[in-house]
Every structure is written in structure tokens, then in C-alpha cells.
């Protein structure tokens, strides 16, 4: 089986809060599930509509120059994509360092590849079609998790969690809980669920509208960095599920940001008379946000079709 792989010549700051391994690798290898990328702080982008990627020029209707789909490494120049046998060959051909991110377009099953360094997005539907013949959709999902994470400015683990909710057919759910039929269905509400999840998990800084800067090594800096805090505002997300508990997520995203992100994403709000319960609803999805009266942290219970499927522990 061919391995779909791209090169990343980037550095990545490890997220000490989440202590996630993803930040240490220099490559994303789909087979091995490793990923390295910059944090483009892209929470304001809408995966559903790449036209909203305000840091990238969307050229979805342009032909894609994939010269050698049997190669292992993609290079990019002037918005085009080529395949190379090695990273050195890519550099020798004058293709600059780049970061290639992936996302899935809702309802179309088209893949969008974003060249973060060149500020160009390329529709690679043909590559997606090729990919679908080469690797299982499960492997593809891992790739999507990485891309979606980078787009949303959250750790890969966050996206993997969201996707895992949908995609992982084995053992993520409690015995007896009739949760989503497994896998390989990217259509409709399931797909948009993780988009919302990622949106909600974005820290407020990542909503800034202006683009991040990128140097020749593909490193990025946050847009309009706070002079008092130049560290990229990265969400930390951990799966802390234990034993028989429903899937549990812990995040450093503040409650106010969490709610704001959902509201910005079209969720309507209802508050109890005593103000202790906040419900955010969009279609068949519902987040119920509460403060704890004891020493626990605020929680957001996520319901899908009326069923509680995940408990998110957010920051006061």
C-alpha cells in the first residue's frame, strides 16, 4: 500500500500543558500517525467554506499539478503541488518549505490541502480520490484530524478526539451505550459535529482576524501577538476518560471562550431562570454548560440527538 505523506520543514512548540507527543515530531506520516506543523491559529476559518480562510487564497477550481502521484513527498511552489521522491529533491527543485494541512469539506467529501507557508490553498480533490483508493478511510481520518487541528488552532489530540467520537469503532464507548454507528461516514451532522467541537475548543486569541506571519522555515507567529505574551495561544485538550465513565475531555479553554465560540458558530442560547444552566443548541447538537457548586471545574455536557456523548471539563 502506498503511503500518503508530505514533508514538513517546520518547528513546533511543544504544548507543555497538554504534554502531547504530537508536537515533537518533524513529520506527519499517515502510516505512523505522526504530525508536525505550525500553529496557524485558524479558528476563525470555517472548514465548511474554505473561502473564509482569510489567511489563504482559495483556488479550488484551479487544476492541480500533481506530477508524480507515486512519489512520497509533496512540494509546493506558487500554489502548485508536485511530488518528489525525497525531501532533498524537493528543495533542489526550488520548492520552498511548506506546511500542508488538510480538512474535509462538509457534504462534498473533497479534500482541501492548504499550503500554509505559501498562503495558498489548493483543492486536491483528485488527490483525495487517489488517496481513497490507496489507504483506508480510517487512515484518512487520522490525517484529517491533524489538518483540522491545525486549522482550528488546537492540538492534534483535540481533533483526534472529535474524530474518534465518530470514527473509532472499537471500545471508545461504554458497554451498552448505543452510540454512533461506526466509521467511514463523513456526511451530514457527524462531520459538522467535530467542526463545532474544534471551534468550541479554540482559545479566544485564536479568533483574531489578521493572518499569522510565516518565515522561510515555515514557522508561524500568532497574529498581532500580545506584547506581554508572545507564546501562541494554544488550547490544551486531553482525553481523561476513565473506567466506565462516558468520554471525558479536559481543556484549558475558558468557559467564556467556549460559550462565545459556540455562539459564533450559530448555536442558540437558553439560560435557566437561576442562571446556573446554559444550553447552547444547534440542530440535533446541544451543549449544556454549568458551573460547579463544589470544587469541581465547570462542565459542558455534549448531547447528540438527545444523548449525552461527552463531558467536557472547561476552565472557569
Amino acid at each position: 500500500m502506498k503511503i500518503f505523506r508530505c514533508a514538513f520543514i517546520t518547528l513546533y512548540e511543544r504544548d507543555n500543558e497538554s504534554d502531547l507527543d504530537f508536537a515533537q515530531a518533524r513529520y506527519y506520516n499517515f502510516k505512523h500517525g505522526r504530525f508536525t506543523t505550525v500553529d496557524p491559529l485558524m479558528a476563525s476559518a470555517d472548514i465548511v467554506n474554505p473561502q473564509t480562510f482569510n489567511r489563504y487564497v482559495y483556488v479550488g477550481n484551479n487544476p492541480v499539478n500533481i506530477t508524480d502521484p507515486t512519489g512520497e513527498i509533496w512540494g509546493s511552489k506558487d500554489g502548485t503541488v508536485q511530488w518528489f521522491d525525497t525531501e532533498d529533491a524537493m528543495k533542489a527543485a526550488g520548492f520552498t518549505a511548506y506546511t500542508l494541512l488538510y480538512a474535509f469539506r462538509t457534504g462534498t467529501n473533497q479534500m482541501v490541502a492548504l499550503n500554509a507557508n505559501a498562503n495558498v490553498a489548493v483543492n486536491v480533490a483528485s488527490a483525495a480520490a487517489w488517496l481513497s483508493q490507496q489507504v483506508s478511510w480510517g487512515a484518512t481520518a487520522q490525517m484529517l484530524a491533524s489538518g483540522a487541528a491545525a486549522l482550528a488552532g488546537v492540538p492534534v489530540a483535540a481533533a483526534a478526539l472529535a474524530l474518534g467520537e465518530i470514527l473509532d469503532p472499537a471500545g471508545r464507548y461504554r458497554t451498552g451505550q448505543n452510540l454512533p454507528e461506526p466509521v467511514r461516514d463523513f456526511a451530514g451532522t457527524k462531520q459538522s459535529y467535530w467542526e463545532d467541537f474544534l471551534t468550541a475548543m479554540s482559545k479566544s486569541k485564536s479568533n483574531e482576524a489578521s493572518p499569522p506571519s510565516a518565515n522561510m522555515q515555515g514557522e508561524t507567529s500568532p497574529a498581532n501577538p500580545d506584547p506581554e505574551d508572545n507564546k501562541p495561544q494554544q488550547s490544551s485538550v486531553k482525553d481523561i476518560t476513565t473506567g466506565r465513565s462516558i468520554p471525558n475531555t479536559q481543556t484549558n479553554v475558558a468557559k467564556s471562550d467556549f460559550v462565545k465560540n459556540l455562539q459564533a458558530n450559530g448555536y442558540s442560547t437558553s439560560t435557566s431562570k437561576d442562571g446556573s444552566v446554559l444550553i447552547l443548541t444547534k440542530g440535533n447538537r446541544r451543549y449544556v454548560v454549568r458551573d460547579k457548586s463544589n470544587q469541581g471545574s465547570p462542565t459542558a455536557d455534549f448531547y447528540m440527538n438527545g444523548r449525552l456523548v461527552r463531558k467536557i471539563r472547561i476552565t472557569p
Binding site: I240, I246, Q250, D274, V277, K292, G296
Partner: protein
């Protein structure tokens, strides 16, 4: 299925609840009255599932009872619910009700306030059946439900119907549930919470092993 709307019926329900628990107490204190011993724990959120109601009906059928009362005792039934919505946060279910009936009643919006439906704005709930031989005390902040029994055979029946995937003992309640509740705290579950909960509810382990207290 019927919501409790008349004050005298609500007062009767309150008297029944007071015969089972001490409303002034709260976890990790002992909340059950002294006649109840032997405890099992479960995840708080299970209460709001159709599976829970179906199993509860099986349990009631097995012990020869026909009606289940579910009542919210926090927020305050009168000061909050009745004052704002003109109804009490208590429902009586029959074993003939379906799980859909159950879920619909818990989702019912009082005065078009969805966030005040019973399955959302309910910090502490009590469930019990007519003969008052057992009770569930469920605390949303601790994310735990505790079932207390007056008779050993009821515990065994409950265990056999709900199964070990559903119920657990106080040790698992601390390691599996409270560890998540306090996950943001560096020291984890406070020691006094562990001590009190263990001292007050450790007899639940007896049920799992089948040993006599």
C-alpha cells in the same frame, strides 16, 4: 406518568423523601437515614437515559412494585420551581410508561425555559418506589448516584438487573468518577472527601462481594 401539581400530594412526597434521606445533609456526608444500609454507586447522568428507565421498570417488576417517583430536591422545589413555573419538580412514573414517556417528561420545558427541564436544572434528585425500601440519591456536582437499600435481597436484585457495568462501589466512585470531577485540581480528590465518602458508604463493597456486613 404524571407531574405532581397539587400541594398536598407534593407534601406527601416530601414526607416520603424525608423518611429515606436527610435533606439537610449533602455528599460526602451520610445522606440516607439510618434504616438504609448497603450502597451502590452509578454515574449520575445514567438517570437521564431510556436504558436506565427500562432497567428500573424491570427492577420494580421484580420486587412487585408498580410506581417510581423521581423528585428534584435542589434547586428548591417550592422556592425555585413552583415559584417560577407553577409546578413541582416531581414526577410519578408507572411501569407501563415507556422510556420515551420518561425522557419526554424529563425534557419538558417549564414555561418555555428549556434549561429548567428536569434533566438539566437538577442538582440533587431522589428516586424511590411506593414501599420505601430503597432510594436513589443523585448529586450532579459529584456526578454520582447512590442507591441505598433497606434489605439485602433488594440490593442483590438491583445488582442482577443493572449489572456490574452500571453499578460500582465507593472505591470505584472515587477513582473513576471523582477523579474526573476534581481533574483540574493538582492534588486530585480532596482527602477529606475520600475519607468521608469511604466511611459513610464503604458498605457498598459488601454487595459486590456478596459477603455479609
Amino acid at each position: 406518568m404524571s407531574f405532581i401539581e397539587r400541594k398536598n400530594l407534593f407534601q406527601q412526597k416530601q414526607a416520603e423523601i424525608d423518611s429515606l434521606i436527610t435533606r439537610q445533609n449533602q455528599l460526602p456526608e451520610q445522606v440516607f437515614n439510618s434504616e438504609i444500609s448497603g450502597y451502590l454507586f452509578f454515574h449520575f447522568d445514567e438517570i437521564f437515559t431510556g436504558e436506565f428507565f427500562e432497567k428500573m421498570k424491570s427492577f420494580l417488576n421484580a420486587i412487585g412494585e408498580a410506581r417510581l417517583t423521581l423528585a428534584v430536591i435542589k434547586p428548591d422545589p417550592e422556592e425555585y420551581f413552583y415559584r417560577n413555573f407553577g409546578k413541582y419538580p416531581a414526577v410519578e412514573f408507572s411501569v407501563k410508561d415507556t422510556s420515551d414517556d420518561y425522557l419526554v417528561s424529563l425534557e419538558e420545558n417549564p414555561n418555555d425555559s428549556p434549561a429548567d427541564a428536569l434533566n438539566y436544572n437538577s442538582d440533587i434528585l431522589v428516586l424511590y418506589s411506593e414501599r420505601l425500601k430503597w432510594a436513589i440519591y443523585a448529586d450532579r456536582n459529584f456526578e454520582l448516584g447512590i442507591i441505598g437499600f433497606k434489605e439485602e435481597n433488594l440490593k442483590n436484585m438491583f445488582m442482577s438487573i443493572f449489572g456490574s457495568d452500571f453499578v460500582f462501589d465507593v472505591k470505584d466512585a472515587i477513582t473513576e468518577v471523582l477523579s474526573l470531577v476534581y481533574s483540574h485540581q493538582q492534588k486530585g480528590v480532596p482527602q477529606d472527601v475520600i475519607n468521608q465518602l469511604t466511611n459513610n458508604y464503604s458498605r457498598s463493597a459488601v454487595v459486590k462481594t456478596g459477603l455479609q456486613p
